[in-house]
Every structure is written in structure tokens, then in C-alpha cells.
């Protein structure tokens, strides 16, 4: 139908229209009640599988809750938490978690920034590069962790072979799993590999939203590309940097898959012969589903939750300060 055609207004009732009264109620239901039905699934599912477990976790943490040995099950007050305070396993795991967290987050975000800066050019095949750096993001963590577990093996591992090429460890190959630092580094490499590309895209997206005249104005001062990056680009994308810092804090402190599968026998959730790379999430798994002591595992979860809140808060503050934000 051409735009100039006359469109006759429909005067007759639509066919099959329900009687007026019924239609009124239907309309009322449709506009007043139905929207709530549309959003109900989210709230219902979140209540059952998100909020309730989190609250119920607190209840469990105040009880002795053993899966098999049920005789002693019951309220124990803060016993689980006092036990936690003097549990060297927990504090060791906390140190490991933080060590791996720092080693995996700082390089991750800095390298992502560099890569985003590289991508923030007029490039041939821009989409190709962007898709390419997402390969680690889609690769299952379990699969890539297993590759790296082989990569970092002491005998005939590729990592040691690369090291020997630059003249390191030819007589005595490095046993990555044995040492504390070497195992942390190996795990940090897995985390970095997985998340650098993803974060780079987040930064790139923010960089491309910076108005071009900001750079033109700054050019009067003759800022070189390097100063341009640190003095203009980074402060301008500060909200996204903050977002990634918080995201990687939440993710990093709950690190589970990489340390699990780095073990020579993952089923035991040991985190090394001496637990030198066992993270808190791994310890929770061990306590909960090997020792079957759910009450204590719940107490650890709450402790970890509080730690994450505090660290995320501190990191957010520090990022704001460094970024010179208001």
C-alpha cells in the first residue's frame, strides 16, 4: 500500500472480540497484573537458588552439619567460626588465594590495557583481531587448565623446554608444582591467559567512547602516545577499570578450577603436596564434600564472602584514587 493511499479507519468491532465487560477485565489484568507475572520467574528463582542459600548458609554455619555422621548435628553457636580463627589450613589457603590473586590480577589488567590500546587504532581486520583474542574466553577453564597442567609438568613439560632455550634449568628442570611461588605463577598464567582478552575488549569499548576532541585539545601540550594513554585514555575509562577491578576481585578470590586441575590427582583437592597452592574455594570443597563437614564449609564461605566485600571495597577506593576520579 502506497503512503498516499487513504487508510480507512476501522469502525466495526474486531471480529471475535469478547463482550465489553469481559474485555474490560481482560485489559485490566493484562496491564495491571500481567507485568508482575513477566518478572516473577526471575524473583522466584533468585529467591530459591540465590538469596535463600546465602541466608541459609548463615544458619548452616552456626550448626554442626555433617552429611554422614549425623549424631552430633545441631546448634553449636559460633564454634565453627572460633575453629576457623585458629585453623592454619584456612589462613594458609587465604595467603595462597591472595598470592595467586595478585599475580593473576595485576598483570591481567595491565596487559589488557596495553592490548586494548593496540586495538584502539585504525586497523585492517579489526573484527578478526577482536574475535581472535576471545578464544581463551570461550575455551572451557577445565580444558585450558588441563593443558597448562601438562605444559608445566616437570619432565618434558613445554614450559621447562622454553626455559631451557634461554639457558635456564638445563641441569635441574624446574618442578613447578613443588614450589610455592612457581605453582602460584603457573596458576596465575592460566588465569591471565583466560581473562586478558575479555578485559581488553571491555577497555577497548570504553576507549572508543572517548570523544575525539579530548585528544585534540590535549595535543596542544604535545602529549606523546604513551602519555596520551596514561594521562587521557586511562582516566577517561576509569569507570570500566573500576568495574573490571571489582569483577576480577570477586572472581579471583573464589578461584577454584585452575588450582583444582593443576593437581596431579584433582579428585583429592589437595592443592599440592603441602597444600602450597590450595585456595579457599578449594578448601571449602574439600571440607564440604570430602570431609562432609558442611557446617564448617558454610562458615568458611561466610568468611570468604566478608573478605571479598572488604577487598573489593578497598580495591575500588584505591582504583578511584589512582585514577584521579572525583
Amino acid at each position: 500500500m502506497a503512503l498516499t493511499d487513504v487508510r480507512h479507519a476501522r469502525t466495526e468491532e474486531p471480529r471475535h472480540a469478547p463482550p465489553k465487560r469481559q474485555r474490560f477485565w481482560l485489559h485490566r489484568f493484562d496491564t495491571k497484573t500481567f507485568p508482575y507475572l513477566m518478572i516473577a520467574p526471575f524473583f522466584l528463582l533468585f529467591a530459591v537458588f540465590g538469596l535463600f542459600p546465602l541466608i541459609f548458609n548463615a544458619v548452616v554455619s552456626l550448626r554442626h552439619w555433617h552429611l554422614i555422621d549425623k549424631e552430633k548435628n545441631g546448634w553449636v553457636g559460633l564454634d565453627n567460626f572460633t575453629k576457623l580463627a585458629s585453623d592454619t589450613d584456612f589462613w594458609d589457603a587465604l595467603v595462597n588465594t591472595f598470592g595467586i590473586f595478585v599475580l593473576s590480577t595485576v598483570p591481567q589488567l595491565l596487559l589488557a590495557l596495553m592490548i586494548a590500546n593496540l586495538l584502539n587504532r585504525k586497523l585492517r581486520g579489526a573484527t578478526f583481531w577482536r574475535i581472535g583474542i576471545l578464544l581463551p574466553y570461550v575455551t572451557p577453564v577445565a580444558a585450558s587448565s588441563l593443558v597448562f597442567a601438562v605444559f608445566f609438568s616437570r619432565d618434558n613439560g613445554l614450559a621447562n623446554w622454553f626455559l631451557s632455550l634461554v639457558g635456564f634449568g638445563q641441569e635441574q628442570p624446574l618442578d613447578w608444582r613443588a614450589g610455592t611461588w612457581s605453582s602460584w605463577i603457573a596458576i596465575a598464567v592460566m588465569v591471565n591467559w583466560k581473562w586478558i582478552g575479555y578485559n581488553a575488549l571491555l577497555y577497548l569499548s570504553a576507549m572508543q567512547a572517548i570523544p575525539k576532541d579530548v585528544y585534540e585539545a590535549a595535543a596542544v601540550d604535545g602529549a606523546g602516545p604513551w602519555r596520551q594513554l596514561w594521562q587521557i585514555t586511562v582516566p577517561m575509562i576509569q569507570p570500566v577499570v573500576l568495574f573490571t577491578v571489582i569483577l576480577s576481585t570477586i572472581g579471583g578470590l573464589q578461584l577454584f578450577t585452575e588450582p583444582m586441575l593443576f593437581d596431579e590427582n584433582p579428585a583429592q583437592a589437595n592443592g599440592g603436596y603441602d597444600h602450597q597452592w590450595r585456595t579457599i574455594a578449594q578448601l571449602i570443597y574439600r571440607v564440604g564434600w570430602s570431609d562432609l563437614n558442611l557446617g564448617y564449609a558454610a562458615a568458611m564461605s561466610w568468611a570468604l564472602f566478608l573478605i571479598i566485600l572488604v577487598v573489593a571495597g578497598i580495591n575500588a577506593l584505591v582504583t578511584r584514587r589512582l585514577g584521579g576520579g572525583k
Binding site: L26, P35, L45, G50, N156, E216, M260, L294
Partner: protein, 284 residues
């Protein structure tokens, strides 16, 4: 002259050979572990244990795959089917419920919609993993532990999805279009199917990809609830392959490679959408 050059915004500055070299190296590092997974998956024990380690694919892929698929107590074939069922169910349901809720929040006026949307955003910050102990008990009460339901149910609709859909629908669909359909006598559900869904196909593709990838790759919760049962997902089966006193690398990585292939295919097919989805997500 040089200050003129520098006055250009980075995104208008053409890449130099150094940029391409840098990107090439990054791409190599990104792809190498996946490539090497394939190399080991196609190698014999001798090739894996040789020094220097194999860097070129061998011809043992079929042998290794046969071993993986016939391993006792690993249920590898079933695990792939399970992963597919779980990922498809979660993805389909997430797309439906999130777009429905997103539509309501973006275009319908009902009491308390601002407060409710604020709650949705607030729940984004709750780290769900911390409730796993209690979630395990809840699933136990429901009798779902060890079944695929335990993995599917918590993922059926996500706060991120609702939020993402609300943003997209808010921009993509003019209010007048919804009004016009309503004056024509269409009910909300009909407007959803005939007006909203056709207009948000790109957003559905993005959210679908993100959800599928995340669900397929999920490890911790499936391990907790499905480990030791006859219904593992492929990630749990991988952990089984890698456990035990004597681990055969070529077999483990052959399994890892099989579990990775669907996602690489997804990246090749939907990479453009995935990139867009992640980049758009950053701005909102």
C-alpha cells in the same frame, strides 16, 4: 608537524607494523594452548614424553578418542549429551524469561517497577558461588542432587540477562510501537511475540552465546552436585579423566579437545556477536 600528528585520536591513527606484530604475537599466545591441546590429543605416549615435546600433530587422534569414549566410569559420551541438554535448556529459558522481564521493565508501567529493577541490579553483585553449601542442601531437600535439574534450575533466568534485555529493548523499540499495538487490541503477550521478539533478535543472539558459553564451561557447581554420579557434564567428566593415580595426558587432552570444539565452532560462527555483546555490556 609532529604535534599535528599527535592531535589525532588513537582510533583515527592507522596501525603501524609494530601494532600488527604485537597483535600477531597476542593471537599466537591466545591460540597456542588450544592448538597444543590438539597436538597432544593426536600424539602417542612416546611423542608426548619426548624432548623437546611434540609441537606438530600426530596421527593417533582416533586411537586416543576411542580410549576416551570407552573409559569406564567416565561416561564421556553421555557427558557431552548432558552438557548439551543443560546448556540448551538454560540458554532457551534464559532468553525467554530475560526478554520477557526486560520487556516489562523497559516498556510497561506497573507499580514499583523502579524499585524492582533496582533489586535486580543489586542481585548482580551477589556472588552466588558462596551459597553452594546451602544450595547443595536445598537441592538435597528437593531430591535433585546428582540430576541435571540441579544444574539447570539455578541458571534458568539471570539478573544480567534481565538487565541486558531491558537496556536493549529500551533503545530498540519505540514506545509508540507498543502503544499502537495496544490500541489495536493486542494483549501484552501478543505484543511480545509480534513486536518485541522480532526487534531484539541481535540481543537474543548475544545473550544466547554468552549464556551457552558460561553454562557449558561451568565447573564448580556441576562438580559438587554431579560428581560420582552417572550424569556428569563434560567438564566433570574431564576432571574424572584427569584424576586417578596414573594419568594419561594424551587421553586427558583428547577429552579436553572434544569438549572445546563446540565452543571454538561457536566462536567462529558467532564471534562477531560475542565481541559486540561484551563491548556493549561494558558501556552499560
Amino acid at each position: 608537524m609532529s604535534s599535528r600528528l599527535l592531535s589525532r585520536a588513537p582510533q583515527d591513527t592507522p596501525g603501524t607494523w609494530k601494532s600488527y606484530l604485537g597483535l600477531g604475537v597476542i593471537l599466537l599466545v591466545s591460540a597456542f594452548p588450544v592448538y597444543w591441546m590438539f597436538v597432544i590429543a593426536t600424539s602417542s605416549d612416546e611423542a608426548v614424553m619426548s624432548s623437546p615435546p611434540a609441537l606438530i600433530p600426530g596421527d593417533q587422534l582416533m586411537v586416543n578418542l576411542r580410549e576416551v569414549f570407552t573409559m569406564q566410569d567416565v561416561f564421556f559420551t553421555a557427558s557431552l549429551i548432558n552438557s548439551l541438554i543443560v546448556s540448551l535448556a538454560v540458554t532457551a529459558s534464559t532468553l525467554f524469561f530475560c526478554s520477557l522481564a526486560g520487556f516489562a521493565f523497559a516498556k510497561l508501567r506497573f507499580k514499583g517497577h523502579n524499585v524492582l529493577m533496582f533489586i535486580v541490579i543489586l542481585t548482580l553483585t551477589v556472588p552466588n558461588q558462596l551459597g553452594v553449601v546451602a544450595l547443595f542442601i536445598v537441592m538435597g531437600e528437593l531430591g535433585w542432587n546428582g540430576t541435571l535439574l540441579a544444574v539447570i534450575a539455578p541458571g534458568l533466568v539471570t539478573a544480567f540477562g534481565v538487565f541486558y534485555m531491558r537496556q536493549f529493548i529500551g533503545h530498540a523499540i519505540p514506545d509508540e510501537l507498543v502503544e499502537a499495538a495496544r490500541i489495536d487490541g493486542a494483549l501484552t503477550m501478543r505484543i511480545y511475540w509480534t513486536v518485541v521478539v522480532p526487534a531484539i533478535r541481535p540481543a537474543l543472539a548475544v545473550l544466547g552465546l554468552l549464556t551457552f558459553v558460561a553454562t557449558w564451561n561451568d565447573f564448580q557447581w556441576p562438580l559438587i552436585t554431579l560428581n560420582g554420579t552417572d550424569y556428569p557434564t563434560s567438564m566433570v567428566a574431564l576432571s574424572d579423566l584427569a584424576s586417578g593415580n596414573y594419568v594419561v595426558y594424551r587421553r586427558v587432552l583428547a577429552g579436553a579437545f572434544v569438549a572445546t570444539v563446540p565452543l571454538v565452532v561457536l566462536l567462529l560462527v558467532g564471534g562477531r556477536q560475542l565481541v559486540r555483546g561484551i563491548m556493549e555490556g561494558a558501556l552499560k
